[in-house]
């Protein structure tokens, strides 16, 4: 884990009117690593991801990209840096075929005339390297199953050769088989040296693919755990705040005093 963080958030705060959605949140994302972002509903996971993706500009704090502070104010800024986001609602155009969806917004073209052949070839190569099996790259996305749509959406995030891929609940609506396929895909992204931020409510998925788990609770950091050495229960406790009570606080205080 000596690798330097490709993306680091330091002291991020975000308010929506009277709601303090994020308070002083830190997060480090390293290449070749899957970091799971977990937390209860309203913990601020989606808000945090949207600040990275440029949907909501941050109020306070700094975003550091490869060692240099950057400002991300629009989705385009994030894309230019190399941050690709796969939203929960996928954002695919049902009426367009797989190739068109993969290249939407970044079509291969000469003088704005589409180069379908280059696009189709690259699409097939990309799907091939990700071992994605879909009936055809030329059928409308509407005729794909839920799992196939999800892998198309993830593959689409990779078209621009990003360094960080953010997946917002990629397995939420999927069956057992399709979930396994998506998790396989997440592992292949890691093998390719990408940094992956995975938002999930499903602890089994998190344990299966993530290297680290960052827990958010009520808009604040509530610990980053190493998946290999942390038990399921500890993560759950951090999410729900079960460990955050008078007993544990006293324990921590006495430990600190003892150390001094």
């Amino acid at each position: 884990m000596a690798k330097e963080a490709v993306l680091a958030l330091r002291g991020i705060s975000k308010r929506f009117g009277a709601v303090q959605a994020l308070t002083d949140v830190d997060l480090e994302v390293r290449p070749g690593e899957v970091i799971a972002l977990v937390g209860d509903n309203g913990a601020g996971k989606s808000t945090l991801v949207k600040t990275i993706a440029g949907v909501h500009p941050i109020d306070d704090g700094t975003i550091v990209w490869e060692g240099t502070p950057v400002s991300i104010n629009r989705p385009h800024d994030a894309q230019d840096l190399g941050i690709a986001t796969v939203y929960q609602d996928l954002a695919l155009c049902d009426n367009l075929d797989v190739v068109a969806n993969l290249f939407l917004g970044s079509e291969a073209s000469h003088a704005s005339i589409l180069d379908e052949i280059t696009m189709e070839k690259r699409a097939m190569e990309l799907l091939e390297t990700l071992s994605i099996r879909i009936p055809s790259v030329r059928i409308p996305v509407a005729s794909l199953s839920g799992g196939q749509r999800q892998v198309v959406a993830i593959a689409r995030a990779l078209i621009g050769d990003p360094k960080v891929v953010i997946l917002d609940e990629p397995t939420a609506a999927l069956g057992v088989e399709q979930t396994a396929q998506v998790l396989d895909l997440v592992e292949r992204l890691r093998e390719r040296g990408l940094a992956v931020v995975l938002i999930s409510h499903n602890m089994a998925d998190v344990q299966a693919v993530a290297d680290h788990v960052a827990v958010l609770r009520l808009g604040r950091n509530n610990g980053v755990f190493d998946v290999a050495t942390t038990s399921h229960e500890e993560v759950i406790a951090a999410i729900t705040g079960a460990s955050d009570n008078a007993v544990t606080r006293r324990q921590a205080r006495t430990d600190k005093e003892a150390a001094q």
């Binding site: 989705p75 155009c93 049902d94 009426n95 939407l104 091939e128 071992s131 009936p135």
Partner: protein, 445 residues
């Protein structure tokens, strides 16, 4: 839905495996892609056609029809039925003169319908095209005839006026957020007021002899070489485009159309083009109006299917939010599409002025708007956005104009025409809705 998709899946896999064992050379490189042994080879469903030759084409066609992908089939069948019925009632219906007239009459409304197809692809509607056509004609007439402005300049100003008006609708729709229905409804009233105001005290301004606008529908290339030449160029260009595409796809090792399909497609195209050229030459020759209409269609079709701009239109029509997140400037696409619709409406208005002998206060009023929208829908462009072809403007307006021509030949009153056109429109929308339902169950939109 997923059930059917899975079924399709297995069908494809079985077929893929079948061709693989048959050792078809064509299929070999693609099946070679399958990385893991035992993994099902990926087969493009469209490949069913190519791998089984011509018989496969028929099976694929049947499959599509059953799946609800009717495409242009209902319209073409409808055109044949219309031709048979009217020809049996009046033997002049398919005469050279009558067909030539249809070719000229479809130009103006057809160009307007092309603009409507753009708007429908966005999933929106433009109710103002009739009034904009009237304004276009009025602007030209007032400038050129009353004020003596250069004829060409007046024509260009009229078309630009349409572009500006359309962009204004687009602005209110995309930037301000007023529903397109309401914006263009306001435009429908407002621009027809402007048209009447522009015309002033005169009820109508006649097109002068040998003016540009008179030539729009009055000029015919009488040399028979013109029609045949255009047909030949069109067929050769079509065949060349298909061949080049197939060659490039083959070079890139992608599935490509087999030569047999290219030959059949080119053959059908050649048949239609040369029969049309022959019939037109029997009458007054190749009408300029038809040439201009076809040029608009070809350019628009190219823009919609082959350019990034066209792709953006489909994306916005399919899922505007997805398009926005993909970095597409949704507002610009919407404004420009309404601009195109307005521009083509004004251009079409000049054809209508040319046909009716001049600009009037009521040009573009009445059923023009309804005919134009009906043409786009009858031709197969979905009202729900994101699905359709530019050529549906040609097919739809052919249906409407054929019915009008036929009923005129039979001497039927316009009220009967309205009722029949209305019934045809309803039938077209019913086919659209039913086929959408079938497509949903077959997992396609």
């Amino acid at each position: 839905m997923s059930d059917t998709v899975d079924k399709n899946d297995t069908v494809d896999k079985e077929r893929g495996a079948g061709t693989g064992t048959a050792g078809s050379e064509d299929a070999a490189p693609r099946n070679g892609d399958a990385a893991a042994p035992g993994a099902a080879p990926v087969v493009d469903p469209r490949l069913l056609v190519r791998e089984q030759g011509f018989a496969g084409y028929v099976t694929d066609f049947k499959r599509r029809v059953r799946g609800g992908e009717l495409g242009s089939l209902p319209v073409i069948l409808g055109l044949i039925i219309i031709a048979v019925i009217f020809q049996s009632l009046n033997e002049n219906f398919l005469s050279a003169g009558s067909v030539s007239d249809i070719g000229v009459y479809i130009a103006g409304t057809g160009i307007m319908a092309t603009g409507i197809v753009f708007v429908l692809l966005l999933g929106e509607i433009d109710l103002s095209v009739g009034s904009v056509a009237g304004v276009g004609a009025a602007v030209w007439a007032v400038l050129s005839v009353t004020n003596g402005v250069n004829d060409w300049l007046a024509v260009i100003i009229a078309i630009v006026a349409g572009l500006v008006i359309g962009s204004l609708h687009g602005f209110f729709f995309a930037r301000v957020g007023v529903p397109a229905f309401v914006v263009t409804l306001a435009g429908f009233l407002g621009w027809s007021g402007l048209q009447i105001w522009l015309m002033g005290s005169e009820g109508s301004i006649n097109t002068p002899e040998s003016s540009v606008v008179e030539d729009l529908t009055g000029y015919y290339f009488e040399d028979i070489a013109a029609a045949y030449g255009l047909a030949l160029v069109a067929v050769l260009a079509y065949a060349a485009a298909l061949l080049v595409d197939a060659k490039r796809r083959k070079a890139a090792r992608l599935p490509s159309r087999p030569v047999s399909e290219i030959v059949v497609r080119t053959g059908v195209m050649a048949l239609v083009a040369f029969v049309a050229a022959y019939v037109l030459n029997q009458s007054r020759g190749l009408p300029l109006a038809l040439v201009l209409f076809l040029a608009v269609l070809v350019i628009a079709d190219f823009a919609v299917r082959r350019t990034t701009y066209g792709r953006q239109i489909f994306a916005v029509g399919g899922n505007a939010e997805a398009a926005r997140r993909a970095g597409i400037n949704v507002e610009w696409v919407r404004i420009s599409v309404f601009g195109i619709a307005g521009m083509l409406a004004a251009f079409g208005g000049l054809f209508i002025a040319s046909l009716s002998g001049g600009a009037t206060k009521s040009l573009g009023a009445g059923n023009t708007l309804m005919n134009v929208i009906a043409a786009a829908v009858i031709g197969g462009t979905s009202l729900f956005g994101g699905r359709g072809k530019i050529w549906s403007a040609l097919l739809g307006i052919l249906v409407i104009q054929s019915i009008q021509q036929g009923l005129n030949l039979l001497g039927m009153a316009s009220e009967i025409q309205y009722m029949i056109t209305g019934a045809v429109l309803l039938a077209a929308v019913v086919i659209d809705s039913v086929s959408r339902r079938t497509q949903k169950t077959a997992g396609r939109t």
